[in-house]
C-alpha cells in the first residue's frame, strides 16, 4: 500500500461518514466495502464501516444538541436532526475541536431562509458558547481610571471583556433560552427588534437586553472607535447629542460594574 492508497482509504471514510443514512445496502457501497474490509462473523464489510458512519452522526447531533438545546426543544428532535444533516452537508466539520462545530449554524439557517425566530435562537445560543470559554481579562483598575487626565478621555479606547457578545435580534430569544434552562414552557415571543449582550462574569454567563442608544455606543467602542469619536458619531447618527452626552458617564459606570470594560487605553 502506498500513502496514496492510505489516502484513498481515509477518503472513503470521509465519504461514507457524510451520509446521514445507512450505507449498508446503498448503491455500490457493499461492493466497495467488500474490496477494502474483511467483515466479521457477524457484520459484512460495509456494515463494519456503517458502524463508524452511525457513530459520526450520533456524536455530531449530540454535540449540536448540547450547544443548541433551546433550538432542539423548539423545533423538535426530528426537525433538529434534519437541520443538522443539512448543516453538516453545507458546513462539514473542519476544526479539530468539536467546540467549533456550531459556529456557522445561525448563518446556515439564515441562508436556508429558515424562520427568523429560529435563526435568532441559534444566534443567542452560539453567543453563550463563545462567551463560555473566551479569554479572561482582569477587572477594570479603578485607580488607573482615576489617574487618566481629563483631556485624554476623548481619544481613549475602551477595551471590552473578550467574552462580550453583542446581538441584534428580531426576537427576544434570550428569554426562550432562559425559559428552557429553567425547565418552564418556552413561550414563542412576538417579533421585536432586540439588542442583547451575552457576557461572562465570575465564570457565570448572563444575557442583558439593552436600549438602542447605549447598545449602538457599545458597538462603536467594540469596533475600536475612540470614546470621543464614538460619542460624536452616535450623536450625529441619532440626532440625540444631548442624551448621549448626558448618559455616557452612566453607561461607563454600569458597564464597568458589570465587568464589560476591562481597560481604558490612553496610549493613542
Amino acid at each position: 500500500m502506498t500513502t496514496k492508497n492510505l489516502g484513498d482509504l481515509q477518503a472513503m471514510f470521509a465519504e461514507a461518514l457524510a451520509s446521514p443514512k445507512s450505507i449498508a445496502r446503498e448503491g455500490e457501497w457493499p461492493t466497495r466495502g467488500e474490496a477494502s474490509f474483511t467483515g466479521s462473523a457477524r457484520l459484512s464489510p460495509i456494515e463494519q464501516l456503517d458502524v463508524y458512519r452511525e457513530q459520526f452522526w450520533l456524536r455530531h447531533v449530540a454535540c449540536l444538541a448540547e450547544d443548541f438545546p433551546t433550538l432542539q426543544a423548539f423545533v423538535g428532535e426530528a426537525r433538529f436532526e434534519a437541520i443538522v444533516a443539512g448543516y453538516l452537508a453545507a458546513h462539514p466539520p473542519v476544526h479539530f475541536m468539536l467546540r467549533h462545530l456550531g459556529s456557522d449554524l445561525a448563518r446556515f439557517l439564515e441562508a436556508s431562509n429558515d424562520e427568523s425566530l429560529v435563526v435568532d435562537i441559534a444566534r443567542v445560543e452560539w453567543a453563550f458558547v463563545e462567551a463560555f470559554d473566551a479569554a479572561d481579562a482582569p477587572p477594570l483598575d479603578a485607580r488607573a481610571v482615576a489617574e487618566i487626565p481629563e483631556d485624554a478621555w476623548s481619544t481613549a479606547r475602551i477595551i471590552l471583556h473578550p467574552s462580550l457578545q453583542r446581538l441584534r435580534l428580531a426576537h427576544p430569544t434570550h428569554t426562550m433560552r432562559a425559559q428552557h434552562r429553567e425547565k418552564v414552557p418556552v413561550v414563542r415571543p412576538e417579533e421585536a427588534a432586540t439588542r442583547v449582550v451575552v457576557y461572562r462574569r465570575d465564570f457565570l454567563l448572563y444575557a442583558e437586553e439593552m436600549e438602542a442608544l447605549p447598545f449602538d455606543m457599545l458597538e462603536r467602542l467594540a469596533g475600536g472607535q475612540p470614546l470621543g469619536e464614538a460619542g460624536d458619531a452616535l450623536a450625529d447618527a441619532t440626532g440625540r447629542r444631548e442624551e448621549v452626552e448626558s448618559r455616557i458617564g452612566e453607561w461607563f459606570t454600569r458597564w464597568s460594574a458589570l465587568g464589560w470594560i476591562t481597560r481604558v487605553d490612553v496610549s493613542v
Binding site: M1, T2, T3, N5, L6, G7, L9, Q10, A11, F13, A14, E15, L17, A18, A35, S36, F37, T38, S40, A41, R42, L43, P45, E47, Q48, L49, V51, Y52, Q55, F56, R59, H60, P92, P93, V94, H95, F96, M97, L98, R99, A131, F132, D133, A134, A135, D136, P162, S163, R200, F203
Partner: protein
C-alpha cells in the same frame, strides 16, 4: 538499553480517573478521593482561551498530576499535521508539566474534514513508514515523552499485513515512543475481530507501556462498542491484571465518559482498580 520508562523517568502514578465537569465540585472543592491519585484531561477541552475550563484546570493542577490525553491529533492521517493543534498542545503541556502526553494510533482527518472519531489504521508496513516520522516530529515538537493508545475498532482492512499488537510494537520501537495500553479496547477489538486478547497483551513491549486504560463498553449484539459508559467488565479486569503483571507498576486510568456517574461511584471503580492492581503485582 534502559527501558522507555526508565530513560524518561516515567512515574507510576497509581490509579487515576478522567476529570469531567460534572465532578468539579467533588474534586476541586471536596478534595477528590483517596482512591484517585491523578487525573487525565481531554487535551482538546483545554485548548480554549479562558473561562471556567481553564480555571478548573489550573485548580486541578495545583493539587494533582494531570496528564493530557488527545483525541484529534490525527497522527495517522495522510494530511499534514496541524501546526495550530501542535502549538496549542505544546502550550497545554507546558502549563501542566505532565510526565508524558498521550493520543491514539488512528486518523481523525480525511479529505480536509475533521471526523472526530478514532478511525483505525490498516496494519501495514507502509502505514508504519507513514506514522513513525510523524510521531517523532510530534515528540520533538512537544518536548515530552509521547505515548500512543491502541483504539477499539469495528472493522478490519483486507490490506493489513500483521496483527495489531505487532503493528503497535513496531511503531513504538521505531518512533521510540511510549504505549498507552487500553485493555478494554483490546477486549472490544478482540471480540469484534475474533483475535486472542491475551496474545495481544503478551505481544506489547512491556517496557514502553506508560499507562493502562480500563473502561466499560456496550454490547450491541453484532459487535461491542467502546462507550466508556459503564462499570469495567470482569473479563476486562482479568486482562488488566494480566497486563499490569507483565508491565510492572504503571499508571492506571478508569475511563467513564458517557452516562457519567457520581464521583463516588467513579471513585469506587478506582478503588476496584487498586484491588486488581494489588492482586496482580507482587
Amino acid at each position: 538499553m534502559n527501558s522507555f520508562r526508565t530513560r524518561h523517568g516515567i512515574p507510576d502514578l497509581g490509579v487515576g480517573v478522567g476529570f469531567r465537569p460534572k465532578h468539579t465540585h467533588d474534586v476541586l472543592d471536596g478534595g477528590g478521593s483517596p482512591h484517585v491519585s491523578w487525573y487525565e484531561v481531554i487535551s482538546e477541552n483545554f485548548m480554549v482561551a479562558g473561562g471556567r475550563p481553564m480555571d478548573n484546570l489550573a485548580r486541578l493542577r495545583e493539587r494533582f498530576t494531570v496528564v493530557p490525553h488527545g483525541v484529534t491529533m490525527s497522527i495517522g492521517a495522510v494530511e499534514k499535521l496541524d501546526t495550530d493543534y501542535l502549538a496549542r498542545l505544546k502550550k497545554l503541556v507546558r502549563t501542566l508539566d505532565p510526565p508524558y502526553f498521550t493520543d491514539h494510533v488512528c486518523f481523525c482527518k480525511a479529505s480536509g474534514l475533521d471526523l472526530h472519531d478514532l478511525l483505525p489504521m490498516p496494519y501495514t508496513k507502509e502505514a508504519i513508514e507513514h506514522l513513525v516520522p510523524r510521531i517523532k516530529r510530534v515528540q520533538d515538537t512537544i518536548e515530552k515523552p509521547f505515548a500512543l493508545e491502541n483504539v477499539s475498532s469495528y472493522l478490519s482492512y483486507r490490506s493489513s499485513e500483521m496483527p495489531e499488537h505487532e503493528f503497535i510494537a513496531e511503531i513504538a520501537e521505531r518512533a521510540d515512543c511510549g504505549i498507552l495500553l487500553d485493555v478494554n479496547n483490546v477486549f472490544v477489538s478482540a471480540f469484534n475481530h475474533g483475535f486472542d486478547a491475551e496474545r495481544f497483551i503478551d505481544g506489547i513491549p512491556k517496557d514502553r507501556v506508560v499507562q493502562i486504560h480500563v473502561a466499560g463498553h456496550t454490547d450491541k449484539g453484532a459487535y461491542l462498542l467502546d462507550t466508556h459508559s459503564d462499570h469495567v467488565r470482569d473479563e476486562v479486569w482479568a486482562l488488566y491484571e494480566r497486563a499490569i503483571r507483565l508491565t510492572g507498576p504503571v499508571a492506571t486510568l478508569i475511563e467513564w465518559d458517557d452516562l457519567i456517574p457520581t464521583f463516588n461511584v467513579l471513585a469506587d471503580e478506582a478503588a476496584r482498580a487498586k484491588k486488581h492492581r494489588d492482586a496482580a503485582l507482587p
